[in-house]
């Protein structure tokens, strides 16, 4: 995996309770960097609709600046949600449930 900067991640639940904080952190991370964005979701516990929206937002913002969002790792919950929403392809997220790189 080419390690292009920056790598965003979420290491907590990706839910409405953290939505504000995550949005701010992800958008800042996006704006302060160049090139494709890598997102690691392998440590996400819960994910809800708010979390899904944040993924959507991040991808949209990345695309808007001509960059790509690569989700490089997903936790089972994220994989399940993306699959349910038929979004696995759209986010070019790995289907595998275990983290691919840098196993914790």
């Amino acid at each position: 995996m080419t390690m292009l900067t920056p790598t965003l991640y979420a290491d907590n639940d990706l839910t409405i309770y953290h939505a504000q904080a995550i949005k701010q952190r992800w958008l800042e991370g996006l704006h302060q960097s160049e090139g494709d964005v890598t997102l690691d979701l392998s440590r996400v516990g819960e994910i809800d609709t708010a979390g899904l929206q944040l993924l959507w937002l991040l991808r949209r913002e990345a695309h808007a600046s001509g960059r790509r969002l690569n989700i490089v790792a997903v936790s089972p919950t994220v994989a399940d949600l993306l699959a349910f929403c038929r979004l696995t392809e759209n986010f070019s997220a790995p289907r595998a449930t275990e983290p691919e790189v840098e196993a914790a």
């Binding site: 809800d48 609709t49 708010a50 899904l52 929206q53 959507w56 949209r60 913002e61 929403c85």
Partner: protein, 765 residues
């Protein structure tokens, strides 16, 4: 049996009749695909209804039938004679199942179950080759469809969640996941096009929407219930699968007539729409009205909201305008039939009945005009109609009384007013009676099947010709005339039509012909059953009658008299007893049944050319236009339709007949006939009446003119009175007796005929 089931059974019987008619037409003309479509539609409607009333055995059976029909429709199978026979048997069986349902039987009798199994096997065999590939229009084969449930279909659900949903602690995805408990999510598309630019995007607001294809056998209310908690905060559209449309349409057509049919409510009752969908639709109609002068019709809004499919709305609009037309009754509806036990209220199929529908439901006028003629029927409780007729009867009497008083008072204006009133009353009476009138065609059409089956059984080739099917007569009469007709038809087929060899030997076409004909003739309806068979074997009948001791051996009888013998109890000429008739039970029963309806039956027969049974029935049993006459202090009413003319009785007329423009007119002196007291007035009048070709004069003292009257049946004490058909109350409060003209006419002409045999007797007076 609940009301919904009642409606279903009634409707299904009609569908069944259509199915049978279609099958017979198909048999006659196997190329005609429109017949197959009609048959398929009928079967499909029955199946849909069976599902709604949760009659699983009927539903699953009809489904099998539908499978076969589907293959016939697609041209994968040809409508062979065997298949048509099978389908006819199936139609009969469905009739039996409906009987069982109607009688509320929870378990089917073993014979029915046996028949069920056998038919299912035969259906299976017939449609075996390609049973796996059901067409898209019909649900998949039964193997995968659990009995009693609707086969799974793809529903299209579109939902946009409100921004506050998340803040209110609800997770839209959780609702979607819950959908999977109802069925299988085939497709799902996530939409976020309302999400604002990043800066304004509130991560705690919801901007998502979903388009979902759900495969489920659940109904609309169940699907909607999933979103109950967010119903107020989301925009939800549930579009039923196409295959549901037919079911909805069937339900809409089965809806009872409402006082004021509202489109939305009709859709709601059929389950095509949910309450909240309707409310939302009505709201946007209100909203549109606030901005523009004319708001769009509710139907258009609902289609636009993707709540209902357009074809369902179309069907509802048609039904709606049919109901409205039936209610307005500006012109008499083509067919108005009353049925018992179908009340105007009906529980909606799935959702609670309480509906707030204050908004206007526009009937979509342009489309309304295109209403189909098929659904134009109004079901009314028979009791209500009887009550109406009763009241009209009282009105007629009261009106007559008012007219009489006005006439006595001599006040011109009052007389004018009452005459207008009586004309209106007359119209009301006619319309009220018209409500009870039904075309006989439906009864006639039943005989197509009878003739077909019986001719197979007898090994004869017989065709049925129906004429005058549009002739109308009282519904109660139609019901009672079915059995006698059946008997006459069977009799004609069995005894009338000869075997093919005999026919060919006689130079007749091999195919025999039975004809049913109906027409109006003065005050009666005439129904004829004729055949082109061998005619009545007069000598054989006479010989048999003599042998059975019905007539003395040496008596010479006219052909007419001999023909009448076959209506005598216990009479049969058949050499062999067949399955159908010839058991000596029958024609006497026919005659009795017809007489009970104040009708007559006579036979016209020509040896070698066939026979014709002519049944005459009164138009109605309730009200007549009468001609009021008096003998002494007694009032007699002659049914006006039978009156031909009135003449003065020549002063010196001792005989019982007079010369009416060169014609012999026998007459009866009512004074003698009813043994009335008092001296005849110096100037007596003769009312010339005609019935069934016989012209007869009735001698009375005074003529009073036309008089509308309600027939009150005679009490049981007076039942045996001959010559009196009923009674009525005159405007003055006096009692008038209604003459039984057919009987009097017969009596007079018989007396006349007899008087020609011996030397004419001089009359006493």
């Amino acid at each position: 049996m609940d009301e919904l089931t009642g409606v279903f059974v009634q409707e299904s019987r009609e569908q069944l009749a259509e199915m049978e008619a279609g099958l017979l037409a198909l048999e006659a003309n196997p190329e005609e695909t429109s017949d197959i479509n009609a048959i398929f539609r009928a079967a499909h409607t029955i199946k849909g209804g069976a599902g709604v009333v949760e009659c699983s055995y009927l539903e699953s059976f009809t489904h099998k039938v539908e499978n076969l029909l589907d293959q016939l429709r697609d041209g994968r199978l040809s409508p062979s004679e065997m298949r048509i026979n099978l389908l006819l048997d199936c139609a009969d069986h469905i009739g039996l199942l409906l009987d069982a349902l109607e009688q509320g039987e929870t378990t089917l009798s073993t014979s029915v179950i046996d028949a069920d199994t056998r038919l299912r096997e035969r259906l299976e065999q017939e449609s075996a080759p390609s049973v796996a590939s059901a067409s898209p229009a019909s649900p998949p084969p039964e193997a995968v469809a659990p009995v009693g449930e609707n086969a799974p279909d793809i529903w299209y659900i579109s939902v946009r969640f409100g921004e506050d949903v998340l803040r209110h602690g609800m997770d839209p995805i959780a609702f979607l996941r819950f959908l999977t408990t109802l069925g299988d999510i085939r497709e799902l598309q996530t939409l976020a096009d309302t999400m604002p630019p990043a800066e304004q995007m509130d991560p705690e607001a919801c901007y998502l929407g979903f388009e979902i294809c759900l495969e489920t056998s659940a109904g609309k209310p169940e699907i909607e219930a999933v979103f109950d908690f967010v119903r107020d905060e989301c925009e939800l559209h549930i579009l039923p699968p196409h295959s549901r449309s037919e079911d909805y349409i069937a339900l809409i057509n089965a809806l009872p007539d409402d006082e004021r049919p509202l489109l939305g409510e009709m859709l709601l009752r059929a389950g095509a729409l949910t309450e909240s969908e309707l409310l939302i639709g009505l709201n946007s109609q209100e909203l549109a009205k606030a901005y523009t002068d004319n708001s769009p019709p509710i139907g258009a809004i609902l289609v636009e909201h993707k709540s209902v499919r357009p074809e369902v709305v179309e069907a509802a609009i048609q039904r709606q305008s049919a109901i409205q037309q039936a209610q307005q009754q500006t012109a008499p509806a083509p067919r108005v039939i009353e049925h018992e036990e179908v009340s105007a209220q009906i529980e909606p199929v799935a959702s609670p009945p309480a509906v707030v529908a204050d908004g206007e439901h526009h009937p979509a006028p342009a489309k309304a005009r295109a209403a189909s003629s098929e659904a134009r029927m109004l079901r009314v409780q028979a009791e209500k109609l009887d009550r109406l007729i009763d009241l009209v009867g009282e009105l007629v009497i009261a009106g007559a009384s008012a007219t009489e008083l006005a006439r006595q008072s001599g006040a011109t204006q009052l007389v004018e007013a009452t005459s207008l009133l009586s004309r209106l009353v007359e119209d009301i009476r006619d319309s009220a009676l018209q409500l009870r009138m039904v075309q006989i065609g439906e009864t006639f059409n039943r005989f197509n099947r009878v003739v077909r089956d019986v001719s197979h059984e007898l090994g004869k080739d017989i065709g049925l010709v129906i004429r005058g099917g549009e002739t109308e007569l009282d519904k109660s009469l139609i019901e009672k005339v079915g059995d006698p007709l059946m008997h006459l038809v069977r009799n004609a087929m069995d005894h009338g039509i000869e075997s093919q060899e005999k026919r060919q030997a006689a130079g007749k076409p091999a195919r025999g012909r039975i004809e049913l004909n109906a027409y109006h003739d003065s005050s009666s309806v005439v129904i004829e059953v004729s055949d082109d068979g061998g005619g009545l074997p007069y000598d054989k009948i006479l010989a048999k009658a003599v042998a059975q001791g019905l007539v003395p051996a040496n008596q010479s009888l006219t052909d007419e008299e001999i023909a009448a013998l076959i209506f005598r109890p216990g009479f049969s000429t058949a050499d062999r007893v067949s399955n159908l008739s010839g058991r000596g039970v029958g024609l006497d029963v026919v005659a009795r049944n017809i007489q009970a309806l104040r009708g007559t039956v006579e036979i016209k027969s020509k040896p070698g050319q066939g026979s014709r049974f002519v049944i005459r029935l009164p138009l109605t049993l309730a009200i007549i236009d009468g001609f009021l006459t008096a003998v002494g202090k007694n009032y007699f009413i002659v049914p006006l339709d039978t009156v031909v003319e009135c003449i003065e009785l020549p002063t010196h007329c001792d005989r019982e007949y007079l010369n009416l423009r060169g014609e012999v007119l026998p007459f009866l002196r009512l004074r003698d006939e009813f043994e009335l007291e008092g001296e005849p007035s110096t100037r007596q009048s003769v009312v010339v009446v005609q019935y069934a070709g016989h012209k007869v004069g009735l001698v009375v003292d005074r003529l009073h003119g036309e008089f509308q009257t309600v027939i009150k049946p005679l009490g049981p004490l007076f039942r045996h009175l001959r010559g009196i058909g009923g009674s009525t109350i005159l405007g003055s409060g006096e009692v008038g007796l209604i003459l039984d003209v057919p009987l009097l006419a017969r009596r007079a002409s018989r007396r006349e005929a007899r008087s020609f045999e011996p030397a004419p007797r001089a009359h006493k007076h």
